[in-house]
């Protein structure tokens, strides 16, 4: 089961993802990320501190927006990955292609860098 919510904190779009993101639930993550990117949000904070599991279907969602993020000067940061979930990003080298931070503070300071 996936739990997903989105909100705004000033100019930061915050997406909170919890539970399991697998082939049956990744579509919901895709919808939220797509809405943020197409909605012209320039600062996107993805809180994964409650994320228990991710499979390639979920990783594929993040991967498929890497070009949009670069082309549209969007800052997207993912934070709060537990050790097992981080390991999955690392197996594919996605930790080098996406911005991952360990804490909310570090994630916010990345978004607010001038």
């Amino acid at each position: 089961m996936i739990h997903i919510e989105s909100s705004f904190e000033e100019d930061i779009k915050k997406i909170t993802v919890g539970g399991d993101v697998d082939a049956s639930s990744s579509i919901q993550l895709d919808t939220e990320i797509k809405n943020a990117i197409e909605g012209d949000d320039k600062k996107i904070l993805v809180d994964c501190s409650q994320l228990k599991y991710i499979s390639s279907a979920g990783l594929g969602v993040f991967m498929s927006y890497i070009q949009d993020i670069e082309n549209n000067n969007i800052r997207l940061v993912i934070f709060g990955l537990n050790e097992k979930v981080l390991n999955v990003f690392e197996i594919l080298g996605l930790d080098q292609l996406l911005t991952l931070e360990s804490s909310l503070e570090a994630a916010k300071s990345y978004l607010n860098e001038v």
Binding site: S24, S64, I91
Partner: protein
């Protein structure tokens, strides 16, 4: 020691498959990280079969067998009936290709190949077995 689990080819069954693999491996002294990567690999193979070989038809089934070989490793057999899908003949794209083409699929089997030490595909009559071996010290 052998364990077996049968699931219907519906994506909502993936959670049950993951629980079965997780709970089985927990009995044999593996680290949390090893368990989580093996759970992921089996989830990927099953999701792939459900979607591409069975079009998520809940009337179709697949079996997941786990064979623990102490001091040697773990063999997973994923058995289904139908057209079959041989992972070894699938040329997976690179991560960079997928990013450029904005594709969301295609990385599951890259993960499986990175996680497992040996993958074989055996087709006998209408029955397909995907054999995945991981060398690990298990008890």
């Amino acid at each position: 020691m052998k364990y077996k689990f049968t699931a219907s080819c519906s994506k909502d069954q993936l959670k049950g498959i993951r629980s079965f693999v997780n709970d089985t491996l927990m009995k044999h002294g593996l680290s949390d990280i090893d368990i989580s990567t093996l759970v992921l690999a089996i989830d990927e193979v099953c999701a792939n079969l459900m979607i591409h070989a069975h079009q998520c038809n809940p009337d179709h089934h697949l079996d997941v067998e786990i064979n623990i070989q102490p001091n040697k490793g773990i063999t997973f057999n994923i058995i289904d009936q139908g057209i079959g899908f041989d992972i070894n003949t699938y040329n997976e794209p690179s991560v960079n290709d997928l990013i450029e083409r904005k594709r969301k699929g295609g990385i599951g089997l890259i993960l499986v190949k990175k996680i497992m030490d040996d993958i074989q595909f055996v087709k006998i009559n209408n029955k397909n077995t995907c054999k995945l071996f991981k060398k690990l010290s298990v008890n």
